[in-house]
């Protein structure tokens, strides 16, 4: 099932390349303040149309852009109960460490599992291409990590069960 994933990621990458044109923009309402406009959404002339990319009903990506900031929200696939708690645990773990990641938002946007907030300052500090690579790599990493965790749990379960039952032989 690599192809649908690749198409999804390519689509997101192209959208990000188009959306990540951020420049410094001091706040219009308050003097000497500089805020990420995508979070406030007060002035419609500073915002672009949000783009929603859906892979299926369970997985989607919302990209909202403004003149000085960009917000990416992801919803991760959760097939069963175990994947549900593993994804929740892992994404909460990441969000708690948002300071270390700089571009991560501490709380996900309503309706999504994890969110990024990229401002013009990040674009000045880091190379744009590498930042986009990082986001796409991040999405692949999350999927891989959750499926690996699920496999480790079922492998351990099988080992525990067979060791226990072997005791009776």
């Amino acid at each position: 099932m690599a192809n649908p994933l690749k198409l999804y990621l390519t689509c997101i990458r192209n959208t990000l390349e188009a959306a990540m044109c951020l420049q410094n923009f001091p706040c219009q309402e308050v003097e000497r303040h500089n805020k990420p406009e995508v979070e406030l959404k007060t002035s419609p002339e500073l915002l672009l149309n949000p783009v929603l990319i859906c892979r299926n009903e369970a997985e989607k990506c919302l990209i909202e852009t403004s003149i000085n900031s960009l917000r990416i929200s992801l919803k991760v696939k959760q097939a069963d109960e175990l994947e549900n708690i593993l994804a929740k645990k892992f994404l909460r773990f990441l969000s708690m460490r948002a300071e270390a990641f700089q571009v991560l938002r501490r709380k996900p946007v309503q309706g999504y599992d994890i969110s990024f907030l990229i401002t013009n300052y990040h674009c000045e500090e880091m190379q744009k291409q590498k930042l986009i690579d990082f986001i796409v790599q991040f999405m692949e990493d999350i999927d891989k990590e959750i499926s690996e965790l699920k496999m480790s749990v079922s492998t351990r379960g099988r080992l525990v069960a067979s060791e226990f039952l072997k005791q009776f032989l």
């Binding site: 460490r97 571009v103 500090e125 749990v153 351990r156 069960a161 072997k166 009776f168």
Partner: protein, 324 residues
């Protein structure tokens, strides 16, 4: 260590230390707690160096389990059978404990191997006492009979205020464990583990193991139980034990494995969670490293007192290209 061992390591260590240093006069007074709220107390006084007092406290039994004289039925006979003349049961037991034993260390067998085996057996006092009723029922199964004056439905304690159920019959004993966990993540992990029990029995080589089933709703064998006993958030596990699982040396192992089944699953659920945590931490570190690669290399400017305000030219600088 995948399986839980029947002897308490700390108790065994204490006994071995004491036996090896019997000439040295020391004072011992240790209190400790082991899994599922089983408490131990060991005391040696300076006056009687070869007497060791061992006290055991068991988890609180729920309403459906009955303790006779503070101990599960068959416990006193089991202690006498396992330890013989070395151990004397003190009545009444120490305050706050269900059982107090007086060990006479000078009466231990001289043979090193026998002595060690007996000390390991003393360190497994938990298995002897808590597993006594289960042992009685399974011993009768080995001889294909049913113990006299046993109800159709027996409840035995294995955790504080929780019990598991046995339906003893002449040709088989059905054991039902209601699995309960406090944390919601524990419940999901345990459910996936318990479903593996059903799956792994189908693999070849394990077809002689007791048949086991996992179900979300209480099985038919528990029809007479109270509603409290029937609530289990991680389902019910049923094992069917046949005489071939309890013949000869297998009896002790089967008793221990069944008495600590819930503790075993709990232990592995916690290990799994710890493993998940360390994996996540490793993944986070690698992601942060990937992010740091996105930053272009910054020129290091060291502000030491020896730095001069102008850069000294060297041969290397003369050879760099025009872009730097």
């Amino acid at each position: 260590m995948i399986l839980l061992q029947s002897h308490s390591r700390f108790l065994l260590q204490t006994l071995l230390n004491r036996v090896q240093n019997l000439e040295k006069a020391i004072e011992l007074d240790h209190h400790w707690v082991e899994f599922d709220d089983v408490r131990f107390h060991v005391q040696v006084s300076v006056k009687n160096q070869h007497i060791l007092q061992l006290s055991l406290s068991l988890p609180t039994p729920p309403l459906e389990t009955v303790f006779i004289g503070g101990l599960p039925f068959g416990a006193i006979e089991a202690i006498k059978a396992a330890y013989g003349v070395i151990v004397q049961i003190l009545d009444p037991p120490r305050d706050g404990f269900n059982l107090t034993l007086k060990l006479n260390l000078s009466k231990l067998p001289q043979n090193e191997e026998h002595k060690h085996t007996l000390l390991v057996k003393i360190a497994s006092v938990r298995e002897v006492v808590l597993g006594a009723p289960l042992r009685v029922i399974l011993k009768h199964l080995a001889s294909r009979t049913v113990a006299p004056d046993i109800n159709q439905f027996v409840a035995l304690v294995h955790r504080p205020n929780e019990s598991f159920f046995l339906v003893p019959q002449a040709e088989k004993v059905t054991v039902v464990f209601p699995m309960r966990f406090k944390d919601s993540i524990d419940i999901v992990l345990a459910t996936s583990f318990l479903q593996e029990f059903m799956e792994s029995r189908r693999t070849t080589g394990l077809s002689n193991a007791p048949p086991c089933l996992w179900s979300h709703s209480p099985p038919l064998e528990l029809k007479g139980a109270t509603d409290d006993a029937l609530s289990a958030n991680a389902g019910f596990v049923t094992f069917v034990i046949f005489p071939r699982h309890v013949e000869g040396k297998k009896l002790d192992r089967t008793v221990w494995n069944l008495s600590t089944f819930h503790a075993y699953v709990n232990y592995h659920v916690k290990c799994s969670e710890g493993f998940i945590h360390s994996r996540m931490r490793r993944r986070v570190e690698s992601m942060i490293q990937a992010l740091n690669c996105a930053k272009p290399d910054q020129e290091k400017t060291k502000k030491t007192p020896h730095t001069r305000s102008f850069k000294r030219l060297s041969v290397k600088d003369g050879r760099t290209n025009s872009s730097s």
